[in-house]
């Protein structure tokens, strides 16, 4: 019963940790707008937390730059299992307009396993919520495997 409770709860309380890997701030603002009264992601239990140790879902924005790469990887490694990595915006997926710049190491999927990609520049809040909801499903599956 306890296991089932945990499994059910995993789906219902995903906490987000947001990493900015050299983003232009567009996606960052969109992510915050997801939590505003208009879209209110908190009704699904989403909560933005300040420490990777508390997080379930890591949201990465920005084309992973040379400067930020080791820091992003370190922060991601500090998130306890089960965890889910969501890239937000086109930058961490393809590099977007910064592709093949000398300072950009992206895409992120070269370095870690990315669970969900939310495309767009910047993605609309609805898309973000959809992606996060998908991430919670993946999280629940990972929970189940354990």
């Amino acid at each position: 019963m306890f296991k089932k409770l945990i499994k059910e709860s995993t789906e219902k309380s995903p906490w987000l940790f947001h990493i900015n890997a050299g983003s232009c701030n567009g996606c960052d603002i969109e992510l915050v707008s997801v939590l505003t009264p208009r879209f209110d992601a908190e009704r699904l239990g989403f909560k933005l937390v300040g420490s990777p140790r508390h997080a379930d879902i890591v949201v990465v924005t920005g084309p992973v730059t040379k400067q930020s790469l080791p820091r992003v990887l370190r922060a991601i490694s500090q998130v306890p299992e089960p965890r889910c990595i969501v890239t937000m915006g086109s930058c961490p997926q393809s590099g977007n307009v910064f592709k093949e710049s000398w300072s950009v190491c992206g895409p992120l999927s070269k370095y870690v396993h990315v669970d969900v990609d939310v495309a767009g520049c910047a993605p609309r809040p609805q898309a973000v919520i959809d992606g996060l909801a998908l991430a919670t499903q993946i999280l629940k599956e990972k929970r189940g495997q354990k």
Binding site: L5, I6, K7, E8, S9, T10, K12, S13, W15, P37, D40, E42, R43, L44, G45, L48, V49, G50, S51, R53, H54, D56, Q78, P80, E81, P82, R143
Partner: protein, 341 residues
């Protein structure tokens, strides 16, 4: 002298009614209500009422990482000590006429027991070795100092008021304070106690570290401060302690200032004409329900409302606020009580 029934009763107290289960359910329920109400005030739908339960169970299922720099024993033990001491504290606070162990508690003991959960959190955070926890620790301690002075004054004023009313000089015993109220009406009806009650209500958000005073766990500035390195089970226990603390402080307020309702409940139950045992049972149950109701009101007005309408203060502002405004109220009350109003 060894009586199994007594042991069973004690265990029941600890595990079920004023103890663990009650604290767990009501505490998390209160914080669920708090989150919901804050959302409503901000015109949001808000999380489901059971969200804190989900959070708790989810955290229980997560991996617990002990950082290499941490002092493992202290790191893991601190949350448990904090929770256990809160539960014991809850058992000392009389719920109207129902007293589990309150005969041996008095207000100064309670004042000190209230420090232990905060101290457990401070030591746990310190043991994690994180500099964010160091900053959080400093802020938490300053908040504790800030709340301590008005709390002391309020408790002294209560002791004096009840003492002079009972002709004893001063009364520190919790059960005597509650018994006096259930016989003679709530303390809040005394003129001198009104500022004290307001001061106590203003202390609640500070002591529990809820919104405008949550400098110690500011997630945006210092990465959750004391809890920065906690994950999984220990974090769940800390979150639970937070919620239970709201319940503890609210029920302490009810016991100190609204104990007169106990007399009303006893009279109401008496009018049913039940046997003594059944009356006791029903009275206890009714008392618990009334207590939860009152705690809800206190939570909504003094935690959720304050949360929704204020922005986080700086830690020196927290200190200044408590040592001027709230202390002023408490001091006023003490002076009034001293001269017998």
């Amino acid at each position: 002298m060894f009586n199994w029934l007594t042991v069973l009763e004690t265990l029941g107290y600890i595990l079920i009614f004023p103890g663990f289960l009650f604290c767990f359910l009501v505490g998390l329920f209160l914080s669920g209500v708090d989150r919901k109400i804050v959302a409503k005030m901000q015109k949001r739908v808000g999380p489901p009422l059971l969200q804190p339960f989900y959070d708790f169970f989810k955290l229980c299922g997560k991996e617990t990482i002990v950082p290499a720099a941490a002092n493992k024993g202290m790191f893991l033990a601190a949350p448990l000590v904090g929770l256990a001491s809160l539960i014991v504290l809850q058992m000392f606070i009389p719920i109207f006429n129902f007293t589990a162990f309150s005969t041996m508690a008095d207000v100064i003991v309670i004042l000190y027991l209230l420090l232990i959960p905060a101290l457990a959190m401070i030591l746990g955070g310190a043991a994690s070795g994180s500099p964010y926890a160091g900053v959080g620790l400093s802020r938490e301690m300053v908040t504790v100092i800030a709340c301590e002075l008005p709390l002391v004054l309020v408790l002294l004023a209560v002791a004096r008021t009840v003492g002079s009313a009972m002709g004893k000089g001063l009364v520190f015993s919790m059960s005597e304070i509650v018994n006096y109220q259930s016989a003679n009406g709530s303390l809040i009806t005394h003129v001198s106690m009104i500022p004290a009650a307001i001061a106590f209500l203003l202390i609640i958000p500070g002591e529990t570290g809820s919104h405008p005073f949550d400098t110690a766990e500011a997630e945006t500035e210092i990465c959750e401060g004391l809890l920065a390195e906690y994950s999984g089970g220990p974090l769940a226990v800390f979150k639970l302690s937070h919620s239970v603390k709201v319940l503890t402080l609210s029920s302490l307020f009810v016991a100190l200032f609204l104990g007169g309702l106990g007399g009303k409940i006893a009279a109401l139950v008496g009018s049913f004409g039940l046997s003594a045992a059944a009356a006791g049972m029903i009275g206890g149950l009714l008392g618990a329900i009334v207590l939860v109701m009152l705690c809800l009101v206190i939570t909504i007005v003094f935690i959720s409302l304050v949360h929704a309408i204020t922005a986080r203060l700086k830690v020196e502002q927290v200190f200044k606020y408590y040592w001027t405004v709230v202390t002023g109220l408490a001091l006023l009350s003490l002076v009034l009580a001293w001269y017998g109003f």
